[in-house]
Amino acid sequence: MTKSIGNAINRIGIPTFAVGLLLLVLLITAGVQGQSIPTLITDILNRVGMNGLLVLAMVPAIKSGTGPNFALPVGIEGGLMALMICMQFDFSGWFLIFSSLALCIVLCTILGWLYGKLMNAVKGAEMTIATYSGFSIVAFFNIFWLAIPFSNRKMGWMLGNGLRETIQFKNFGASRIISDLLKVEIAGVGIPFGMMLVFALFCFLVWFFFQSKTGMAIYAGGQNPRFAEASGLNIDRNRVIANIISTILAGIGIIIYSQGYGYAQLYNGPLNMAFPAVAAVLVGGATASKASIPNVLIGVCLFQGLMTTAMPVMNQLFTGTDLSDIMRIIIQNGVILYALTKVKSGGDR
């Protein structure tokens, strides 16, 4: 009996199981505390929609063998750049969203290509280099945002040059434009169908891509580089392709995230965005060498569910403390730490 439970936990994966259990306990506590469960669920769904693509961006990178994309800020900065350029021209509403998405794909392809080349040059140390690439590009863009001669008054500081730290979508008529699309309220729960459709569409596209010849080749190169080599595949090229896709997903992800949040956060905003995304996919059962769409779906729901529920529950339990954020940091980094210890053992769970 205990053995079969142990087996079941092993199948689900320890992080997934532990976080799932914690979420369950928190939801029950919230109910006991008399908090509004429909409101909580509404929040969870909203945050899943906002973060989904950033987590999905992990899949191509992991499958290609470069490991979780710790350099998510590279794509994020690309997405923000596209957004800023479109805002400079004072585009608004859906036109702003679609034009920035189109521009984002172009910019992120270039950034992803460069980043992919870098990953090929540092084989064996991808994750460390990726983390610092993420940090470095944020520093670079910090200068960039200050120096860029954008003139739209909705984006600048009151005094001096450069862009503001947070730029409101409201001023461009695009705040929560996707998040509120097709939103239906059922039993007090606001279900953002539009947002969920967008997330589902991208999940499907990524899944579909990995059914293609190139997708298979990327997967094989990640699973067993020597096998791929013996099959005459160009592993380096495939790794670059995978990282371009990951970077594009990150760029699109930040545009969707920002509209849902209502603000575009520049400067140090993207600095630590990679870690929650990496943690989420790992919580979903992925390893540093294996990831799938179900891992993304389970992971983003559990992780964002936990983040959303923990705050009100903890605030009520320990009034006046910041415990929920401390817990977020512990869980987020704990999960990453756990997953990284599993990297060398092959991770063929």
Binding site: F208, Q211, S212, K213, M216, A217, A220, Q223, N224, R226, F227, E229, A230, S231, G232, L233, N234, K290, D348
Partner: protein, 539 residues
């Protein structure tokens, strides 16, 4: 200095039910040079691991029988015990620190020290090194071997021959050394360095140290050793005084098997058309370097490539597939080709079954059907369908193909969705064959097809290869460490020694000739020696 014999009494060892040593008896007398010879996998290293109490032995359930020194059970449970008992080993790879001087290398962790103010406060670990006495000890050890190099020279940049001597000096500097094991010490040495080393070994023996000399070079064994023990397939075959035995006899005892794989003697039709010619192929595969190999294969032929481990036989197939840096002129079906481009080689109809089945051959965590289809899909664009501008995998075609292969090749699995890693070795090999066949190749390179496969499944794989050659006219180049296997299905066998072709043999040539050629003799020498020994080609 030394009294008492080193005895192995009825020593046996199993690794998870698989017996690798079966009741081996051997004894080494003080001052004797005792050669130990056998093919790869004959049990030489296992026997030495037992002698040194290596963790690999005791972590896998220990061994049966006894190791005695001077008539008493030596009870060696770990390498430290072995050292205490006066057993030393000169390693095949040099375990030296390049940045240290010869003295420092010799005395590493056995330094002589004198006390200093620091050590009086902080303990013995902080005593100062007594360089003078260390240098003196090192000098003494080097002198025993007649080595006139300065003891304060750095090891970095020394010729390999000298490094070998430093290794030996380290062993003999250990106080109370009684037995010294040399594991293939001449493998990396030049001819003159070898001479020098053999002299040194004789000197050591003259001082009463018992020597175990492991080598596959028959001529060295004949010249150097007092007695020779031959192992084969984990069993003791013979121990003889070297002066009473010839190289040919040793070779026969080493190779010959009571149980052989039968060879079907019916003549096969092979066309005269040369499908592949290879000129001066050089492959930089670490540990299996190929240094200029020339041969050709006719259409429909099964060519065997044999030789001892590390001589370069595996490098040939790996080089032809472009898995390692390679140069050489290769002509396939009358057209020259660049073998460094794996993709093009596969496209031209050459498929490869790697010796590293799990590492290179398979995606272990992927299902059987994908494994079989993968190469054909990526290389030839089979099993794909077009949807609009995109190409996608044709799952139905992949499944149908896998089902057919499972049936044709008799792959034992629960379903084609089972992961390749979950199959037994023999079935994994069949999946690899299936993967190669999906490419519909004209030439199949097969390396170590039966490694790690039990005896029943071995025969199945070999029969399968033979059927492919006979019924589909496929040309096969099979590389194997097992002579019996090569001789059972090949039409010709090339013996590779030291990165070059030592010669070409017929599968019906005698055991002695095979054994001697693998040990570095030329074909003429081997044939002559075999004739003198009265063996001659047997049928």
């Amino acid at each position: 200095m030394n009294n008492g014999i080193l005895e192995f009494i009825n020593v046996g060892k199993e690794y998870s039910g698989h017996a690798v040593l079966k009741g081996v008896n051997m004894d080494v007398r003080p001052g004797e040079i005792h050669a130990l010879i056998g093919e790869n996998g004959a049990g030489k290293s296992t026997l030495m691991n037992i002698l040194f109490g290596m963790p690999v032995i005791h972590a896998t359930g220990g061994f049966t029988g006894e190791v005695r020194i001077g008539g008493e059970n030596a009870n060696i449970m770990n390498p430290y015990d072995a050292m205490q008992a006066g057993i030393g080993m000169v390693h095949q790879e040099f375990m030296l620190i390049p940045g240290f001087t010869i003295t420092e290398n010799i005395k590493l962790n056995r330094e002589t020290t004198k006390s200093s103010p620091m050590s009086k406060v902080f303990g013995k670990r902080l005593e100062t090194l007594d360089h003078e006495s260390m240098a003196h000890d090192a000098r003494k050890a080097l002198d025993i071997m007649g080595m006139d190099i300065e003891e304060y020279t750095r090891v970095h940049g020394l010729p390999v021959g000298h490094m070998q001597f430093v290794e030996i000096a380290r062993e003999i500097d250990k106080t109370g050394i009684r037995f010294l094991v040399f594991d293939e010490p001449t493998a990396v040495l030049t001819e003159s360095e070898t001479e020098h080393l053999l002299d040194a070994i004789r000197k050591l023996a003259a001082q009463g140290i018992g020597i175990i000399f492991i080598s596959h070079r028959l001529d060295e064994i004949i010249r150097l050793s007092d007695r020779v023990t031959i192992l084969r397939d984990g069993e003791w075959v013979a121990t003889e005084d070297t002066k009473n035995i010839t190289a040919a006899e040793i070779a026969r005892l080493m190779v010959g098997r009571a149980l052989t794989l039968d060879r079907d003697e019916s003549e096969r039709k092979i066309s005269d058309e040369e499908i592949l010619t290879v000129k001066d192929l050089r492959v930089n595969m670490p540990g299996e370097e190929v240094k200029g190999v020339t041969f050709s294969v006719r259409k429909g032929e099964i060519l065997g490539i044999g030789g001892l481990a590390g001589q370069g036989k595996l490098g040939i197939a790996n080089g032809l597939m472009g898995m390692y840096p390679v140069i050489g002129d290769v002509t396939f079906k009358g057209e020259p080709m660049d073998v460094s481009k794996t993709n093009e080689t596969l496209k031209k109809g050459i498929a490869f079954l790697s010796e590293d089945r799990k590492g290179v051959g398979l995606l272990l965590t992927s299902p059987i059907d994908l494994n079989i289809a993968f190469n054909a899909m990526e290389v030839q664009g089979k099993f794909l369908k077009k949807i609009g501008p995109f190409t996608f995998t044709d799952t139905a075609a992949i499944k149908a193909n896998a089902e057919k292969m499972v049936k044709d090749l008799d792959i034992r699995c629960t379903s084609i969705a089972q992961n390749a890693g979950a199959l037994s070795g023999g079935n994994q090999q069949k999946v690899c064959v299936g993967k190669a066949l999906a490419l519909d190749p004209d030439l199949l390179l097969v390396s170590e097809p039966t490694r790690g496969i039990d005896i029943g499944a071995k025969k199945l794989i070999l029969d399968l290869l033979k059927t492919l050659a006979e019924e589909q006219g496929m040309t096969i180049i099979m590389t194997s460490s097992e002579l019996a296997e090569l001789r059972s299905i090949c039409d010709r066998v090339l013996i590779i020694c030291e990165g070059k072709v030592a010669g070409e043999l017929s599968p019906t040539d005698s055991d002695e000739v095979y054994g001697m050629m693998m040990s570095g003799m030329s074909k003429e020498e081997a044939m002559k020696a075999a004739k003198n020994a009265g063996g001659g080609p047997n049928d």
